[in-house]
Structure formats: C-alpha cells, structure tokens
C-alpha cells in the first residue's frame, strides 16, 4: 500500500522548547504525541498554526519542500486546531455554525440558502452517524456533542489535519469512544489527526502511531499495534520517577476508628435518586458514574447546596450545604482540579498556603513568618519538594507537579474532616496522577475522609478504598476495588495493559 505523506518537519529547533524535533503525518492517520505535563509540547501546534516561528527546520507539505517562511501559511491552511474553548457560536444552529463560517472563506457559498445549508448538514451528520438536528442551537448541546460538531465543522472547512490537545480528559469512556468512532470515519475520508496528550492510554484504541516527546525531541516512535502504556510511561518518566506513598499495613493492636464523617440518606435531586452513602474517617470513597452525571451533582450539592431532598450529616450533626460549604470553617475541603489549579499566581507558595491555613496556624506561629515556613517544611517535606523555605518563589517558577501539590496541600493543611475531589486524576500525565493519588492516600491516613467523584473506572480503582457505582442516578453497588474488577473484565484488561512494563521496570 502506498501512503500519502501530508506533512513533514525535520530538525526543528526553537530555543528552550524544541531541539532537533521531527514529525511526519500521513493522510488518514491518528498520530498521538505523548509527553509529560509541562513539556510544552503545545509549541508544536503553535508552529503548525503559524503562531510561533521556529529558529531552524526543514518543512514539507504533500512531500513538496517548503521554505521556512511559507511553511506556517501553508500548514495553517490545511489544519484545524481544536482548543479547550469552543469556537462554536452558542446562539447559532448547527448548520449555521458549520456553513456560515465557510461562506466567509469562500464567496461561492454566499448564495447558499439556509435550507440547503440544513440539508447539507443533515447529510453530513447522517453520513457520520450523528443523531443531531441541523437546526438545533449549539448552546443547548452538551459539551460532548459540541466537540463532535466542532470536528465536523473543521472537516467542512476543508481541514486535512485536526490537532487535538488534551481536552477530552474529563469525558467518560462512553463519550470518548463515540468521538473515536467519529475520528475513524473521518480518517477513512483522508483526514489526519494529531493528538497532543499527556494521557496517551486514553487514545490506545484509536492511535495509528505514537511519538514519545521528551526534552524537546523525539524519544521513540511506535506503531499503534506495539503500543504498551506502561512502556510509554517508563520512557516519559525516566529519571523523574519518584517513589509513591503507600499506607502502612494496619496494626491489629490499634484498629482504626470507624467513625462516620459523612452520612447521606435518601438524597434526591435532578440526576440522583434516593442516594444513601457513608464516608468514614481515613476512608477514600469514590462515587463512579460512567454516564458522567450524578457524581458531579453530588459534589455540587455538598459544596453549594441547591435544590435537593433527603438529609446530610457531617460528624453526626445535620449539615445544610450553602454557598460557603466548601471551606475550612465547616471542616469541608473542596478541591478543584478542572481547568488547571486554584492558586493565586501573584502570591508566593507560602502565601497561597497561608490563605487557607490562617485559622489553624495562627495560634502556633506568627503568620507568614519564618516559623510558618519551617513548620510547613518539616510537616510536609515530601509534598514541598524543591520549594525552599528561605526563598519563597512566586508561583510562576513552580512546575506543574509542584502546583498540583500546593493545590492539594492548601486544603490538607487546613485540617478538614471531609475532602471532596472531583475527577482528581482526569488531567495530567502519569506522574501528576501518581502525585495526586499519593497525597490523597496520605491525607486519608492522617484521618481525613475523602469523597471522590469520577466517571473513569481507572481513576476510581487507583484512588479509592470503596467504589459506589452509580447508574441512572441510583447506587447500584458499593464495591471494593477487587470486587469491582471482578465484575468488570474490560477494566481488568485495561489495567493489565497499563501495568505492563511500569511495574516490572521499577
């Protein structure tokens, strides 16, 4: 079979970002570029869409050499970059979003009638097996449906290469699978996909090739059939691997207290029906809804309140969630991981921590003094690796991993009774997820009850002591990880593929 090489770059250098990087993409191919968090791999997409000019490099398009100056313009005309923020206009219908934008690019389509637009859109949607109505306003669609429309729009605009950065991390497996099916259909039509990701295992089923990007250059390139998640993780982590925290074995002489921290009885709201759940001291419970609905609503109710029926008790006392429920005052910590972190960029790391820990630390040491720093450093030595007490840097100098540690730590040091986390491991690379898992485990071992909301079974298995499986708003079963795996052979297979390599190597 003879392939068509859509795009090729050789010896691309950009000081501080790329050093002799090379990339080639064939038509109809899904190429995954796997990297670690903070590796700045997005600069490759920036180069392709012309927003960054590399210092050196050789470029080809359709196997014809390009001058470096014309490369950006030529590539830009061929690609569509999929960003986290949708480019769709919520007030317009699907057909308008797809075709009206095209009329700006091509004068021929100015006279196309709206009905014809709708008909053409319907044909495309049918062809791609998408059960959506062309006249439906985009604003009413779910995030998942909007992503599908965005891909369709890209192809309608004539894009031959669609660049997707890590935007589907929070989607449940079922939605990701649907998006992958759509990608495969478009690949058959000759569209290529370049996926820049830190969660390569999410794309295992769809990738044709994977390039491991490390330190600004290619490490290895593997075909999809040879992909092993553990091997790729090992390549990516390399010398950055850190030992993870594991709980000490239980001491029979001193059994852990089994006091209930949270008790939810008969909770019902929009997506939840008659929910009963208890979380104990030192326990991590994960509420898993693979339809990605109920678990988020539970966290929302516990942090913001809203309309619900049923009762909630915190430490045996009735608890009425309100706007400020998720705060140290109530003994409830609500950690947010979505969309980066919740740190203040203009403050130093001790200042960020002190914002939450003021109440707890003020009676021990003067705030923001050297005593506080020393206290934090001695208590949280592992969590604060690399952050020096004598030179508290502004956050701009901190790595992605240090930021994640600070995000969690600022809640942990406030000493909450209950810590609520929504999708803690849905973003970031394997190292970031391991840091999160270790810190949650350590927090639980220190006596904090942790409630995790997730739509990803792997995330639940990695973190939780027990998994409450939600289905259609009801708790179907509360299982230990081993029981959950026994009931889900597909998940078991996925786990084995991820573990292959990384367990053996380290």
């Amino acid at each position: 079979m003879i392939k068509s090489e859509l795009l090729r770059m050789e010896q691309v250098s950009l000081p501080g970002y790329l050093d002799g990087f090379r990339l080639n993409i064939y038509q109809g191919e899904v190429l995954v570029l796997a990297s670690l968090s903070g590796s700045q791999s997005e600069v490759i997409a920036d180069i392709l869409d012309g927003s960054v000019t590399p210092r050196d490099g050789l470029f080809w398009l359709d196997e014809r050499p390009l001058k470096p100056r014309e490369a950006a313009t030529s590539y830009k005309a061929q690609l569509f970059r999929f960003r986290e923020k949708s480019s769709l206009i919520p007030g317009m219908s699907i057909a308008e979003n797809i075709f009206n934008i095209q009329t700006r690019h091509s004068k021929k389509n100015i006279l196309v009638h709206p009905k014809e637009n709708a008909q053409m859109t319907q044909i495309i949607l049918n062809e791609l097996g998408l059960s959506l109505h062309p006249d439906e306003p985009v604003g009413r669609l779910s995030a998942f449906a909007m992503h599908k429309i965005e891909i369709v729009k890209a192809v309608a605009l004539g894009a031959r290469l669609v660049i997707i950065e890590d935007v589907w991390g929070g989607f449940p497996d079922v939605h990701r699978s649907a998006l992958f099916d759509l990608m495969k259909k478009l690949c058959d039509l000759g569209v290529a996909f370049l996926i820049l990701t830190q969660r390569h295992e999410d794309f295992a089923s769809v990738m044709d090739r994977i390039v491991i990007f490390h330190n600004g250059c290619n490490f290895r390139t593997l075909p999809g059939c040879e992909y092993r998640a553990g091997f790729v993780d090992r390549l990516l982590i390399g010398e950055h691997y850190i030992p993870t925290y594991e709980s000490a074995p239980p001491d029979p002489a001193e059994p852990l207290p089994t006091r209930e921290v949270l008790r939810i009885s008969g909770l019902s709201c929009r997506h939840l029906k008659d929910l009963n759940l208890a979380v104990h001291v030192g326990e991590i419970v994960c509420v898993l809804d693979m339809q990605d609905r109920g678990q988020e609503e539970l966290i929302r109710v516990l942090t913001e309140g809203g309309t619900y029926s049923g009762s909630i008790e915190l430490n045996g006392v009735p608890f009425s969630p309100g706007e400020r429920s998720g705060s140290p005052v109530n003994g409830v910590g609500a950690v947010s991981f979505q969309g980066g972190n919740t740190l203040f960029e203009n403050l130093t790391w001790p200042e960020n921590l002190a914002l939450m820990s003021r109440r707890q630390l003020s009676d021990k040491t003067p705030l923001l003094g050297k005593g506080v720093l020393r206290y934090l450093q001695s208590e949280y030595r592992d969590e604060l690796d690399g952050l020096a007490a004598d030179r508290p840097l502004a956050l701009s100098g901190a790595t992605v991993y240090q930021r994640r540690k600070l995000t969690l730590l600022k809640w942990i040091i406030s000493g909450p009774k209950l810590l609520l986390c929504s999708k803690p491991c849905s973003e970031g690379d394997v190292l970031l997820r391991e840091i999160t898992r270790s810190m949650l485990r350590k927090a639980a071992d220190s006596g904090i009850a942790v409630l995790i909301a997730s739509s990803n079974p792997m995330e639940a298995l990695a973190c939780a002591d027990s998994i409450a499986v939600l289905s259609d708003g009801r708790i179907k079963a509360i299982l230990e990880p081993a029981e959950f795996l026994a009931n889900n052979p597909d998940v078991q297979r996925s786990i084995e593929s991820v573990d292959d390599g990384i367990e053996n190597q380290y």
Binding site: M1, K3, E5, I212, F219, R220, T221, P223, F231
Partner: protein
C-alpha cells in the same frame, strides 16, 4: 574586493632594481650626513662653543627627519608589496576578506597585512591537515581495494565446497551458514551495481540474520513489515543500506543484552520510501545520541580527533547517510531517535525510483 584594494594592488607593483639602486644609497647618504651632523653638533657644543649650536641642531633635525621619512616610505612600499603578494596567494587559495575602510592608509595596510598573514597561516595549516587526512583516507581506500582484489570466486567456491561437505557429513547447521555466507559475499562483493530492489536488500538482511543466528541463536528476532512483493520488487534503493544499520543493532543494541527484536517497517509514499529499523536494545542517553547525530551529519568522518579514536558505531551510519545524501540530496538520509534502556529507531528515507538511478559521471571519467 573593493576599489581601494585594487588601487593598493596597482601601487604595489614592484619598481625593479633601478628603484632599489637609487633609494638605498640615498637613504645611506642621508643617514651618514645625519651622523656627521650629530658629531659636528657635539664638537660645536663642547669644543667650539654655543654660538652656532642652534643652526647645527636645525640642520641635524632636518637631515634626520629626511632620513626617517625616506625610511618610512620604503617601509610603506614594502608593506604594499607584501600585501600584493598575500593578495595573490590568498586569491589562489581561497576567498579573501575585504580591506577595512575608513582608516588611515598605513593603518589599513598594516592591519590588512597582519590579518591576512594570520589567515594565510591558518589556511596553510588547515590545508596541511586536509592533505594529511586525504592521504590517510586514500591509503585506507587503497587498502580496501587491495583487500577486495582477492578473487571472490575462490571465496564462493570454497564456501560452496564447505556446504557440500557439510551436507555429506550430515551437519546441516554448517551447510546453512556456509550457504548464507556465500550469498552474503556474492551480494556484497559482486558487481550488481550500486542499486538493488528493495526486496533484494530485505532478502540480504534476512540472509545476514541467518549468519548472526549462528552466533546469537534464537535470542534474535527479526520482524519485517512491508507492502506486498510486487511493490518492493519494483522500486530500487542503494545497495547495502540496511545491512550496516542492522549490524549496528547487533553490536551496540544487543551487545550486553544478548538478544532482542529488530523490526523493519517499509512504507512507500508517493515520492519517498521510508524504512524504519527499530530495536529493543540498550538504546542510548541524550548526550550520546546528540554526539552520534552530529557525527553522522558531518560531511567527512574524522577518523582521528584530539588523538582519540571516535566510537566505531558512527562510521557505518555516517557512510550510509552520506551515500544517501550524495545520491539524492538534502532531505534524504538517516534519522536516529533513541532512549536509554528502551531501544533505538533509525529511519532511512530516500526517493522512490522504479529504475536504478544513473549516477552522473565525473568529467575526468567521461574523458
């Protein structure tokens, strides 16, 4: 080269022996007069008195100044002549730097002469080094030619006899290795031309693996993923491109590991052929990879640097890379990526050719 330099060159034309015959006595006479005047001055001061001292001093100064002026003119002319000579030598050797403008003529000329003498020495030294290296390479090539003059048919016949004897004595392993060696030498030495089909090259790699299996046993696995035979048999590639790379996998990837898997993937595009040779061997760390990439990218492989020998694994890859670049130009060649303890990928890229490319003849060959 600017107008200023041309003017300097015109002025620097040698004036001949008459010029020298007039100038040297003139300077000598002026200097002698100056010395005599100094003597008279001393005599006037200490013996006669101080009345005529001012006059005598003035005469001395004028004479000495005249002498020095004449000497300076002479020096200037010598610089000009030296500059012209350097200019001619530099023109002959290599391009020359422009004379800096905006300075006084004498300063300009002095700087010009100094710079160019240094440059000339550097070039001379580089030329000597190059000559030495060329001589060394020529000797190596001559040695290789002498080695290859061993009658190859004698080698083939001996190996075939070995195979026959091994089969007679029921030692199939020896028969197989003798056959593989015979095929290997026929392919490597015989005059099949510089280009073979992709299929022939892949077959030769398989044959090479049969030989290596004798040493490594079943610890080596070779996986070849390529399109159907009719495509690989239709297109051509330079002979002995893959074998040196596969050999590198054995000697560097599996040296300490004792075995592994080599995967060869052949991809045909509309204009190019891409062959990726991957091994799951030891790989290399980033500094080693950078060094290797730099060494294969050089136009000439330096056999000796700072008195230390370069690592030998760069030579074969450098050779393959340079041959591909010579045949097909930039954009073709080999590209390496590797990770420590995680294997190496080497990608070979060259244009598709459905007939053996004709290598352009050099002028001396045509004549």
């Amino acid at each position: 080269m600017g107008d200023e330099l041309r003017r300097v060159k015109r002025q620097a034309v040698p004036r001949g022996s008459l010029y020298a015959a007039v100038l040297y006595p003139f300077i000598a006479v002026l200097t002698a007069i100056g010395l005599v005047a100094c003597g008279l001055l001393l005599y006037e001061l200490f013996a006669v008195g101080r009345d005529n001292a001012v006059c005598v001093t003035a005469v001395c100064v004028i004479l000495l100044t005249g002498g020095l002026l004449a000497w300076t003119l002479r020096l200037k002319n010598q610089f000009l002549q030296l500059g012209a000579v350097i200019q001619r030598v530099s023109d002959a050797v290599d391009e020359i730097s422009d004379v800096p403008k905006g300075e006084h003529a004498s300063v300009r000329i002095t700087n010009f002469a100094t710079d160019n003498i240094e440059a000339l020495f550097d070039r001379y030294q580089a030329s000597l080094n190059r000559e030495y290296e060329e001589e060394l390479l020529a000797r190596q090539a001559q040695y290789a030619i002498l080695q290859s003059q061993i009658n190859p048919h004698f080698l083939y016949n001996t190996l075939d006899s070995m195979r026959g004897n091994a089969l007679d004595k029921d030692v199939p392993e020896i028969a197989e290795i003798a056959e593989a060696l015979s095929h290997f030498f026929r392919y490597s030495i015989s005059g099949m031309g510089d280009f073979v089909t992709v299929q022939q090259e892949l077959d030769s790699v398989l044959n090479y693996l049969r030989i290596q299996r004798y040493r490594f046993g079943d610890r080596i696995r070779l996986v070849i993923e390529c399109p159907e035979d009719e495509i690989t048999s239709r297109f051509y590639m330079p002979k002995l491109t893959l074998q040196p790379i596969v050999e590198n996998c054995f000697y560097h990837g599996f040296k300490n590991k004792g075995g592994g898997t080599i995967t060869i993937r052949v991809i045909f595009t509309r204009r190019n052929v891409l062959i990726q040779i991957s091994d799951d061997g030891e790989g290399m760390d980033e500094p080693s990879l950078k060094r290797l990439q730099a060494s294969i990218a050089k136009e000439t492989y330096r056999t000796v640097t700072d008195g230390r020998k370069q690592p030998s694994h760069g030579i074969a890859l450098h050779n393959v890379n340079q041959r591909l670049k010579l045949y097909f130009g930039q954009g073709c060649g080999i590209y390496i990526s590797s990770a420590p303890n995680a294997g190496t990928d080497i990608e070979v890229r060259f244009p598709v050719a459905d007939k053996p490319p004709v290598w352009p003849k050099r002028e001396d060959e045509e004549s």
